[in-house]
Symmetry: C2
Subunit: 208 residues, 2 copies
């Protein structure tokens, strides 16, 4: 494999409760060539959340400065807080040959996909709506009202799956992780990524 | 996985001596969901070649009848013999959910790719030109002149790799086989192939 290859930019989305976070943790544990992009937000850290690990926690002024510099792949405001995907660290990782995963909710993912075409997009889906409900309740952090709201949103989110290159069923974390590994490995064999391997041999043919 | 899914049509090409045949044998031994398309030819069978297994051996009259019926995905004449890919058995396998591999030389592969867009194309490449030369000589069936001719053709063939979705390096049969398996598995997770899985869940959401 060519060491100078750019990494893959991977958008990973799916309904809230589809298990994106758990799958990504399992994926990153097995791949040194892949990193998770860190979002920037103006919301307060939850207990245990660390700046620069879970999010870049910033003030509204700081966030709006990055907006002014056109430094986000996408950003949005929810419940009075900004959330965004800063582009600079992503560019750096990709140029170092790292695959970068953007874990992003469905609306934000579409903004990124409209913005850049040089990416691999993966939608995580669920075995059944009952399973989604169970997962949302098992978190124990959501009120009944919030669970109902998320279930409704999930319907809309599922209807947007057609925007993605791939759909991965999360019936079981290990299987879903394996599926995403398969997609990353296949995408690394795209002509554009293998071009140098072919051209090196071609050069030898012409000098014979 | 949905049992009613159509199989993948896979074009597998690459220079003569790139090891397509060996890889395909190894691939088919490991996948019951995949079959190799059988070409039709007017050339005489070589020792050990069986009609309906290695080729459909036909007369010129029979072959030209299929041409007249527009029954080939592609066909060509080499050294006074016809070679072609009959479409009818491919359609049948695909509708039964089987992946169908077309092992086809580079010029024929381009005709198929111009003809159909609903396929996955894989170019098998070689680690070096020296290795290709060694493989061609190891066959023991080629004259010195033929080896030189094939080496020259290989240069042109390598220059056409950009037409393919994927490039697979055949440095070692087992590794190359694993790579093609990875591509087939990833392609089976394309949105179009996973649509039913998503729609089934969506149906449940709307009836809740």
């Amino acid at each position: 494999m060519n060491k100078n290859k750019e990494g893959l930019l991977i958008v990973l989305s799916g309904p809230s409760g589809s298990g994106k976070g758990t799958i990504i943790k399992s994926l990153l544990a097995g791949r040194e060539d892949t990193v998770l992009s860190i979002s920037m937000t103006t919301r307060a850290p939850r207990p245990g959340e660390v700046d620069g690990v879970h999010y870049f926690f910033r003030t509204r002024e700081q966030f709006e400065q990055v907006i002014a510099e056109d430094g986000f792949l996408e950003y949005a405001e929810y419940n009075g807080n900004y959330y965004g995907t800063p582009e600079a660290p992503i560019r750096r990782w990709l140029s170092e040959g790292k695959n970068v995963i953007l874990e992003i909710e469905v609306q934000g993912a579409e903004k990124v996909m409209n913005h850049r075409s040089d990416l691999v997009s993966i939608f995580i889906t669920i075995p059944s709506i009952e399973e989604l409900e169970r997962r949302l309740r098992d978190r124990g952090t959501e009120t009944e009202e919030k669970v109902r709201g998320r279930m409704e949103t999930a319907g809309w989110e599922l209807s947007r799956a057609f925007r993605y290159d791939y759909v991965v069923l999360n019936d079981e974390v290990e299987a879903a992780t394996r599926r995403i590994n398969t997609i990353i490995d296949a995408e690394s064999m795209r002509y554009s990524r293998m071009e140098n391997t072919v051209l090196e041999v071609l050069r030898d043919v012409s000098t014979q």
